[in-house]
Amino acid sequence: MGNSKSFFEFEAVVSSWDILLKGFAVAMFAATLATALAIILGLVVALMRLSTVAIYRWIAFAFTQFFRGVPLYVLLVWVYFGLAIAVNINLSAILAGVITLALLNAGYLSETFRSGILAIDSGQIEAGLALGLSKQVVFKEIVLPQAFRIVIPPMGNQYVDAIKDSAILSIIGVPELMRESQQLANLYYQPFEFYTCAGLLYLIAVVLVSRGTNKLEKRFYTHSAQN
């Protein structure tokens, strides 16, 4: 401080821009894939939780409690370093990261989906059955579309969390934004500039996703109001 250097030195950040953007793309890819997997898995777990078969309910309950209780970092090192030795599965870093993120988010999303499905008025189901529709059709055509609208905001939040959590994947060497920022920060000895830049990129992603979620939610509400 106090010498001829400027407060924020742009040159190194600007010249490494393509590396940072590539890292950002990897982070978004990991977060998006993990969220997509988590939605599918979460829905399966939510349905198991609502099943009439007790054993399914118990498995789903244990799944939810486990993955909501364990920190991402702990699960990540357990999967990537621990499991690799114990069962001799060698996952690539990105695969281990995406699986871990997906499992954790599925734990949260299953609860979201469950409460979304339970929030549908039972009169809707009874009316569907009274019309002579089968149970499956009632669920697919009546319950799910309405429940989907309810779970849009929490699903958006979960996606945001996945984007933020993806920074932790840098620990096992996934070449995402934070990993690249760390390496560049060490290379140029400019941690302040590179971490500020990384923070801004995450901020932009999070703000865009939140805006998108709000828009999606509004569209679904006006759509349903018209019908």
Binding site: M1, Q65, F66, R68, G69, V70, P71, L72, Y73, V74, L75, V77, W78, F81, G82, L83, I85, A86, V87, N88, I89, N90, V160, I163, K164, D165, S166, A167, I168, S170, I171, M178, S181, Q182, A185, P191, F192, E193, F194, Y195, T196, A198, G199, Y202, L203, V206, V207
Partner: protein, 228 residues
Amino acid sequence: MMSNSNYKFDWNVIEKYWPEILKGLIITIQISLAGMAFSILLGICLANGKLSNNLLIVRISSSITELFRSIPLFVLLFWIYYGFSLKFNFALTEFEAGVLALGITGGAYMAEVFRAGLLAVPIGQLEAAYAIGLSKMQSSMFIIFPQAIRIIIPPMVNIYIGLLKGATIVSVIGVSDMIYVARYVSLETFAPFELYSLVGIIFISLTLSISGFVYLLERKLGRSKVDG
């Protein structure tokens, strides 16, 4: 792929090193509690700022809240420990940097919880307090706050669970917490599976017992859910 699936779980490692792991756990708990204290202070300031009559203060508090809710804890930790401290010649210990990062992130979440809690107390309560001659300070301390705290406590404990889980990443800047211990012991013993399993089990029992406690608390306080 699974050539030696009959892996033998080495209990000796756990038997030998669990006291070390527990020492690490104490550091994890310390750092999360210190971060929690910081986030309560910050949360109260931000919540009051958001409820202020001054539009500028409202804008600033809302922006700070949004900003720190959007930046990953992991990035904030590196920014504080490596970026900020180098730029401003501000030497922080690893522990202090961890507390700051946890506190700032937690504070942003806490602000919303406090705001919601304060707003949930009916305005008539405040008017009645003024009407019987209490000062602004007195009415918020003796009338509003005791009522708001009932609503605030359950989501507050949930934020604490988040901070406790978040505190696991401070080992990356060298705080000798539970994972840090597990990592260096596993380098000696080549038993990462055993050690990380132990850490995971300790964590799950911790978070599950706290959330069980929240569940009971919510039922006792008679409010099922307050959105943060």
